[in-house]
């Protein structure tokens, strides 16, 4: 059997558009997931039960249903209630919501790893809960949350391929498209796998160097006080 990568080269514009869409979705969803995850974590570890349980319910829901089902619910079920959202936006919402639950749990693990004395010193100084979590505890989390955090971010990038099911023209959709035009599934999907692999490797490299930069307490530039 012969490999015909030329057929794919001919459709590179579809491929490039797909890569860009995948990157764009990831680039938007990951930061939202991190911020949403931090907020969910704050609720999850709150001393007040009424704050805790919505966070617990949310995390459990997100972790226990397949992402694809979540995507289908938002894209196919919500229109019955008059809420119609584009595939792209559905992707952003679902991926962010999904990632946020995992980030929340990762942050919680990190917060529990910070020595108790840091909380006590903060409270003894009269700092308010939200303030000291944000300024004292969270900045100390990097080393605890970076490795599992980058894993979740990476999972989000790869899981964005599910959006091809609701006609978002990201990388996997582009692959099906090209496959339909060229009838060269081996070449097409091998190329796509390579591209995902490239994106992932690049992302992990980036995350690794960022962690190294943030990890060194005594050399990092001071965090602005306000």
């Amino acid at each position: 059997m012969e490999f015909d990568f030329l057929a794919i080269w001919d459709h590179r514009d579809i491929l490039i558009a797909g890569v860009l869409t995948t990157l764009l979705i990831s680039l938007i969803s990951i930061p939202i997931a991190i911020i949403l995850g931090a907020g969910t974590c704050l609720l999850r570890i709150s001393p007040k039960r009424t704050m805790r349980w919505p966070a617990v319910a949310y995390i459990e829901l997100m972790r226990n249903i397949p992402l694809l089902i979540l995507i289908f619910m938002v894209f196919y079920a919500l229109p019955f209630y008059g809420i119609r959202i584009s595939g792209f936006t559905t992707g952003i919402i679902c991926l962010s919501a999904y990632g946020a639950a995992y980030f929340a749990e990762i942050f919680r693990g990190g917060v529990e790893a910070v020595p108790k004395g840091q909380f006590e010193a903060s409270r003894a100084l009269g700092l308010k809960y939200g303030f000291y979590m944000r300024r004292v505890i969270f900045p100390q989390l990097y080393s605890y949350v970076f490795p599992p955090g980058s894993n979740i971010a990476l999972t989000m990038i790869k899981e964005s391929s599910l959006l091809s099911m609701i006609t978002v023209t990201e990388l996997t959709y582009a692959a099906s498209d090209i496959n339909g035009r060229t009838f060269a599934p081996v070449e097409t999907f091998a190329t796509i796998a390579l591209i995902y692999w490239g994106i992932s490797t690049l992302f992990l490299k980036l995350a690794g160097s960022t962690q190294a930069r943030l990890g060194a307490h005594d050399s990092n530039s001071a965090i602005a006080l306000r």
Binding site: P115, E120, A124, G126, L127, H217, D218, N220, I223, L225
Partner: protein, 252 residues
């Protein structure tokens, strides 16, 4: 400081206070008044509840029964009231608990700027004043882990002082230090005592207690066994348990 101690305002009033950890009765019927400018040393064997007692004063621990008043304000569950009291009560811990991701100066700026709403300039002035007082102004831009234990504890004292608290609590401030660094921390505390700061110190440093304390509180098994001035406490203790404790700690 001409007023006799007895005539001064009561800063901290603990009345019939009890606390349990589950079934364990950790503090039993504690009564203690601390007047403005008074220096109290709390000592006793480990597990006697002395740390728990001072941690109740700024509500790092909750008491279950009885009352605690700080400057006339009762300690309750009301968060506003707790934050208010905490901003008036400084605390130093055994493990220093400096914030490792902030410089020494930033450690000192955080609370005055956030709680007292001070400007950066005003807060920096105060921070530098207290860092000079504890003799480490030249380390202001370093991070905590670049300092020795003794220096870190002195920074922790300065950080608490930056809030200009009415009372300072010390929870075994020298217990985690190498022997050669204990002196510098005790010196700083003595200096503070000399300036009329109201202080409650949990410590095993009996030399410090004798030199600095107005009254020594001896605790055992969750109770206050004896309260006396240092001379009486060390030279003519009333209670048998105090005598036993003193022979144990003063032997070496």
């Amino acid at each position: 400081m001409t007023t006799a101690l007895e005539d001064r305002r009561v800063t901290i009033k603990i009345h019939n206070m009890n606390k349990w950890y589950g079934d364990f009765h950790v503090l039993k019927g504690i009564n203690l008044n601390v007047r403005e400018g008074e220096r109290i040393v709390i000592c006793g064997p480990s597990g006697s509840g002395k740390s728990t007692l001072i941690r109740c004063i700024n509500r790092l621990e909750e008491h279950k029964d009885g009352d605690i008043f700080v400057d006339g304000t009762p300690l309750t569950d009301d968060t506003k009231n707790i934050d208010q009291i905490r901003s008036e009560v400084g605390m130093c811990f055994q493990q220093f608990n400096l914030f490792p991701h902030l410089t020494i100066l930033e450690n000192c700026l955080l609370a005055p700027m956030s709680v007292r709403k001070m400007s950066l300039n005003a807060a920096t002035n105060i921070a530098m004043k207290y860092l000079e007082k504890v003799k480490i102004p030249d380390q202001a831009d370093k991070y905590p882990n670049q300092l020795s234990g003794g220096q870190q504890q002195r920074v922790a004292i300065a950080r608490a002082l930056c809030m200009q608290p009415q009372v300072m609590l010390f929870d075994e401030p020298t217990s985690a230090l190498d022997p050669e660094m204990i002196g510098e921390v005790l010196e700083t505390m003595e200096e503070l005592a000399g300036e009329g700061m109201t202080m409650i110190c949990v410590t095993h440093e009996m030399g410090f207690a004798r030199k600095v304390a107005d009254r020594i509180v001896f605790m055992d098994k969750g109770q206050i066994v004896e309260i006396n001035d240092p001379e009486t406490f060390f030279d003519a203790p009333k209670e048998e348990r105090t005598k036993t404790f003193l022979t144990q700690v003063l032997q070496h």
